[in-house]
Amino acid sequence: MGPVPEDKRGSLSEQLPPLTENAAAVESDRCLFCYDAPCTHACPTHIDIPGFIKRISSGNLRGSAQVIYASNLLGATCARVCPVQELCEGACVLGAEHKPIAIGRLQRHAMDYAHEHKVTPIKNAGSTEHRIAVIGAGPAGLSCAGELARRGHSVTVFEKRLLPGGLSTYGIIVLREPMEVALDEARMIQDLGVEIQSEREMGKDVSMAELQLDYDAVVLSAGLGQTSGLGIDGEHAIIDGLAFIEASKTEPAEMKIGQNVLVIGAGNTAIDCATIARRLGGGHVTMVYRRSEREMTCYAHEYHFAREEGIEFRFLSQPLRVLLYGNEPIGLECLRVELGAPDRSGRPAPVLVSGSEFILEADQIVKAVGQQRPPLAELLGLRTANGYIAVGRDFETSLPNVYAIGDCIRSNGAASTVMAVQDGKIAAAAIERKLKTRTATTEES
């Protein structure tokens, strides 16, 4: 294990280069301009994709950016991190026989233009009397705060971390989204009139009782808890995957990378961790997963990407304990697994094969096996669904005028930035409706 070699330090820069003006023009001209387009339906925020692409084609970049902002204030992040193969591009009518339009990259082209030319979202209303508190400055919170600010409400976001942006800032690897993009986006939301108070944590620095008194509505968008524990011996020597990614973004120069890196898990975050280790000079990088290739929760394109990066895979392996030399890991003892009948998740349950112990050599072990349920649910005594905060159709929780959005309500596991953005949008519209009704009732009486 050692520091990141000089020549590897640049290897985490954004993977896809921006489209040149000409490439964007060529690509945008390929778009058929479908009516009621399937890409728009597939996009969780329902951006008018043919509309923004047509505007790129005509050279109306300012208009193009506004089309994106109209449906999605975090278009710059989504352009980079969206699993477009599963969403817009996956639904493109040209996909079956031709290459789908590179919607993500075209959106980035429009968003880059907006950033360079200071094109900002349009505010639709003058100021109102209403005050809304948002807990957490991740994508869901920023989207909701921005949408409310556009409608003229005054919004305060309480963020427990130093920087806004949530996972976009701390948890998305630089290969996909440089930190500045997320921070610029948060700045844009602030410019809409949103106040972001940093290092203010719910339950510690802010209480729900206070907020309910001072604000007309409270929106919880605090994400999930810590990375889940494995409950094995020597776990203290295992690095938390999210912390590993965060370090690669905030202090890459101080990072230490092993020569035999094991990453436990098979989701998108696990792939990200393995990618970082591999790119920063980790000699052998192996992902360890207790089920098989078929049950991996990462996107298929992420798995292919990892294969191409030269990341190795050990399937059907259940970690048992970390072998230590002093406090440093030297290996991971595992047990072979066979797949049994489907468990509660619908996937075949891993069945341990006794006596099949084997050891994987390692000088660095990272775990990315999902995050714990949102701690706020219990703290605030909210009704839950499968451990996540339970909400109604308008994202209102069991507490009146308290809403919850983003990962903290996503009980079905399919969480993504763009869905968080859409939650924020729908919740903002619902809050607006409710506030209007309330105002109207007050005025009548």
Binding site: A25, V26, D29, L32, F33, C34, Y35, D36, A37, P38, C39, H41, A42, C43, P44, H46, S57, Q85, E86, L87, G90, A91, V93, L94, A96, M419, Q422, I426
Partner: protein, 461 residues
């Protein structure tokens, strides 16, 4: 293999493709290379009166990524003195006895000027002369080019001067910048010319620069109309060709027509032949891609002729001319409807929106469950590739309401997806001219028209 040789007003060439009088035929060196590439003939860039050219003389119309769908130019006739051109013409002709070398000419409207140039051209051994009555810019202000072509009397007068002297075939080139292309042609016929060529370029302004607000191309802060040519003008050229070919006087004269205007590939070429052109001239496509396009022009045309069983160009020429008709003679009872092949359809809905917004609202979106769906009917919380594609409705034509306008067919991006299917209308064939003769009231009075429609079972919604 089909025989591509032609004989046009006595001028022979190994294939019907001639370079039009334009920049690609500016010099002997260029034409040597063109003949080496395989061109059957060349019409030398117009020689004649002294001129000076300007920079930024070519504009272009692009659409999407497609460059130069049309070119626009203010270039004048040859800016090299006639003696230089004449010497090179003689050299080229000596080197290429089997190719057609035709010289385009334009001089002042004086008999002695025309007599002189005709003699000089004949001395080179050239096979023919083309009279440039079409240039729409630069020369017409000086009483030449289109200034002649637009006035039948001038055409006739000048052509007479030419025919007094000429002993080699003379082709009169027609300008499209007229309301009726037949009249100048008839004037040429009266003067005794041996053939026609059309079309010359069309008056045009190609655009404005939205940064500087200057015209494009910008010639020192100014711009103006220039001659328009290239793929975009083909339909205009085909119409003028057919107009001339179906004119009684011209067709009875038997004079051949050399067709040009946007010929870019062998398919265009075949269409010009079918509408009566017996030689073909090409310019813009060569200005875009070079002389090498002759290869596809020749073997594409030859392969098509083989497939169709045409042995000679002569068998193709004018083959579709008898189908050129007028609205008044179209069968009003002919009925076709659009049919969408769901297996080919990619569900872009371009047919739907075109029909709904700009035609007759007779395409429905049918949900996978089989009911008529509205566009944008999905729940805002629905998303993802599967939801978007699996729930996507299929556009279908309500054939009983379809007027068969063919708009959907034209906008569909997929070949073989929408077809126009002929369906029996159940009505006896009738044309507008038959109605005007037999039931004149129907053509003049809305009440009579309504009654006639009702009887005929025509319902227009």
């Amino acid at each position: 293999m089909a025989d591509l040789r032609i004989k046009f007003a006595g001028i022979q060439s190994p294939n019907p493709f001639w370079l039009a009088s334009a920049p690609p035929t500016n010099t002997g060196a260029q034409i040597h290379r063109a003949f080496e590439a395989g061109w059957g003939g060349a019409v030398w860039k117009t020689i004649g009166a002294p001129v000076l050219n300007v920079s930024n003389r070519y504009g272009a119309w692009h659409f999407g990524r497609q460059r130069m769908l049309a070119i626009n130019n203010v270039e004048l006739i040859s800016d090299r003195p006639p003696e230089v051109n004449l010497r090179e013409i003689a050299e080229v002709k000596r080197a290429w006895p089997d190719r057609a070398v035709i010289v385009s000419a334009m001089v002042e409207s004086k008999p002695e000027a025309w007599h002189e140039i005709v003699k000089q051209i004949e001395d080179t051994g050239a096979n023919g002369i083309e009279l440039n009555y079409g240039c729409p810019h630069g020369m017409n202000e000086r009483g030449m080019g289109a200034a002649v072509g637009q006035v039948p009397e001038y055409c006739e007068q000048i052509s007479r001067w030419v025919m007094e002297t000429a002993t080699i075939p003379v082709i009169m080139k027609l300008t499209p910048n007229v309301t009726n292309v037949v009249l100048p042609a008839r004037a040429g016929l009266a003067a005794g010319v041996n053939g026609f060529s059309l079309i010359n370029t069309i008056n045009s302004i190609v655009g404005i620069d939205l940064d500087t607000l200057e015209l494009t191309p910008n010639i020192g802060g100014k711009g103006g109309h220039g001659g328009y040519a290239g793929p975009a003008v083909k339909p205009i050229a085909l119409n003028m060709l057919a107009t001339l070919g179906t004119d009684d006087v011209i067709s009875q004269s038997g004079l051949p027509i050399s067709g040009m205007g946007g010929i870019s590939n062998w398919k265009d070429a075949a269409e010009f032949l079918l509408l009566g052109a017996s030689s073909l001239q090409v310019c813009t496509a060569v200005m875009h891609y070079g002389y090498r396009i002759i290869e596809d022009l020749c073997d594409g045309l030859s392969n098509w002729m083989d497939e169709k069983g045409f042995k000679t160009i002569e068998e193709v020429v004018g083959r579709s001319l008898h189908r050129v008709s007028d609205f008044e003679d179209f069968d009003l009872s002919y009925r076709a409807v659009a049919r969408i092949n769901a297996d080919e359809c990619i569900k872009c809905n371009l047919c739907y929106v075109a029909c709904n917004d700009a035609a007759h609202q007779c395409i429905d979106l049918i949900s996978p469950a089989g009911s008529v769906a509205s566009p944008y009917a999905y729940d805002l919380r629905s998303n993802g590739k599967a939801a978007a594609t699996e729930s996507r409705p299929q556009p279908m034509v309500r054939e009983e309401d379809c007027v068969g306008c063919r708009l959907c067919y034209n906008v569909c991006p997929v070949d073989q997806c929408i077809s126009m299917v002929e369906v029996p209308s159940g009505r006896p064939s009738v044309t507008w001219s038959e109605l005007s003769e037999g039931q004149v009231a129907v053509t003049e009075d809305w009440e009579a028209m309504k009654a006639w429609r009702k009887k005929a079972g025509i319902h227009i919604h």
